[in-house]
Symmetry: C2
Amino acid sequence: MVHPAKPDWQFSERARSLTSSAIREILKVTERSDVISFAGGLPSPEGFPVEVIQKAFSDVLATRGKSALQYGPTEGYAPLREWVARDLTAHGARVLPEEVLIVSGSQQGLDLIGKVLIDPASRVLVETPSYLGALQSFSLYQPEFRSVPSDEEGLLPDALSSELCAKARFLYALPNFQNPTGRTLSLERRHALVEAAARHHLPIIEDDPYGELRYRGQPLPGLLGLAQGSGASVFRLGSFSKVLAPGLRLGYIAAPAPLLAKLAQAKQATDLHTASLTQMAVHEIVKGGFLESHLPAIRRLYQRQCTVMLEALAATFPKEAHWTHPDGGMFIWVTLPSGMDTTTLLEAAIKEKVAFVPGAPFYAEAGPRNTLRLSFVTVPEERIREGIARLGALITHTLAASEPRAA
Amino acid sequence: MVHPAKPDWQFSERARSLTSSAIREILKVTERSDVISFAGGLPSPEGFPVEVIQKAFSDVLATRGKSALQYGPTEGYAPLREWVARDLTAHGARVLPEEVLIVSGSQQGLDLIGKVLIDPASRVLVETPSYLGALQSFSLYQPEFRSVPSDEEGLLPDALSSELCAKARFLYALPNFQNPTGRTLSLERRHALVEAAARHHLPIIEDDPYGELRYRGQPLPGLLGLAQGSGASVFRLGSFSKVLAPGLRLGYIAAPAPLLAKLAQAKQATDLHTASLTQMAVHEIVKGGFLESHLPAIRRLYQRQCTVMLEALAATFPKEAHWTHPDGGMFIWVTLPSGMDTTTLLEAAIKEKVAFVPGAPFYAEAGPRNTLRLSFVTVPEERIREGIARLGALITHTLAASEPRAA
């Protein structure tokens, strides 16, 4: 494009605060196929039911092509909203179809939540650490983030003091196999969290993209179901990305009708509605119970890959490092000795043709420099072993080099 | 959903300014199939190439299913970006693939433009009247709208005074078969507009969803092509909604690389990326030149429907009314005698089972009450005649009832 040498446009304050994310830059480097990348949060394509999806798109176009290709209602395709409401109800949270908004991936759900609930300088509570994509999405609306202290069982409900909750617009929580840590909020803490939320009038955004990917232990009740009747407000984000395929860009928000109406108005101004064809095809797939037969295979695949990575970590990482043992999902979180900096380590790792995401960007406020996230779902087993061995050797070497010599 | 009697959440200031749109409420009423609705901006489903789309989705899933279902780059599917750049270049605007961002319908383009270029109270210039969806989308970022005076040839470049342009973030313009009026900016005015934009350092957002739907006269050069080398900054929004199908939700923004990078960062935070499968299927369709063979049929269909509506208007509307004669697109804009109020008229019209959109919401600042928008593309020919006859009779009757009786 031929354009003026000096730009005429002026960026908004919010745009000036946007910077290219660490994950984004890393993913660019690791697009080189010779790098073993544990960085991306890409589900394993082995789990995509390609033929089932192909048949569904074909059937919808063959039988209802004209309505599938036409503009549709902002709230979403009614039968899919009904399916989501029934599915949530079957999982213990009573939800009506009119309380479901279909969105273009749950990332869009985060953007709409930000649009509708965050003013500049509004307080937003997040876990320590939290999902980077949510921090980026909310950041566009310029909140003041406050981190809720957390440990290996998730956030600490006792830390939700009146001072911390005062004027907070909401708490953003990922109770199951959290991104980035893989940790799960314990049942006891779920009860305590919902109780604290009711006491402090603190709405909770429950983001649960990984909940169906549990391969160990018993499923725990979701925050939305636990909150019903407790006096706490919980709004839930869900996604078809991890149970079907992320390239479809399909998710939902479940929220009380008055909030849902406002979210739908914001969505109308944002992209009118989510693709009709995609919604109808996904409904075609899920309506007959496909996920019940499909999910066990995904869970087995992810469990196997998780086990391989945990074994490789135990075999090759130095004893000073420790890491999470997730019951589901896609991620393991590693903590290295406190002197190490994983951002520096990444540069060395790329030279060894292995990649991960440094932990620092997942902290809304200043956090430790010695953590990192590993995804075990994108890379095949033998490459997991090879990549973790390379990383383990690099960390051992870096540690040895930094130790003072014996006198 | 069982939730607290008193909501715990607090809406953002921008959310409180959102109200349900007139179009939205009207569309709900007119979903009743017994209403002849000229209200919606829905393209005729007769023009959707259902089988071609079915084959494209099927082929992409059969041959590249795993990548079509995986997360993809925020900027869009590279071959589709290349196609858009080549297509724009063939239409007289030199654009490189890296200057193209694929978006989820051009409505999302409007949202991203608002996110990246509008601060609260930023001045934004719009035509009089302008596209309601753009006013809604920009409104979320709380600009100060200023209307540029316009006549039947579109906006008046001479009205772009230094005072009006001072500190304006951009001018939003629809040069071809504008929504809602159907009018087209003349060639002379296009040149004058680009010159004024260069002089005032006023960026122009050129929104052109209807440009390929010209069925009368010669195509006029787009603002982006005209601006190149002139010193003016033009950013272009395009859409596949009117040339293929709106239910796919696919469009693009063409902008200089530094602006495009910022828009892509905003898009990443907004919905990560547009569905990979949809992008690949649409590329499959357009790459071999399908639109060149498909568009003439759409143009013929729309021209026929436009002619039918113009004839019906001439035959049944009172002589005091006048209306536009579009050379393309989907809309006719009617101006009734100055005493009439089309919002009141709509209520009466719904009782007669015919609907339109009152003109008032299309004005960013207070506008006349006696205008209305008619779409001629959704309703079949015989229903156009019937609906316009009902509306003409109603207007004639309303006019007669309001006239003072002869002494």
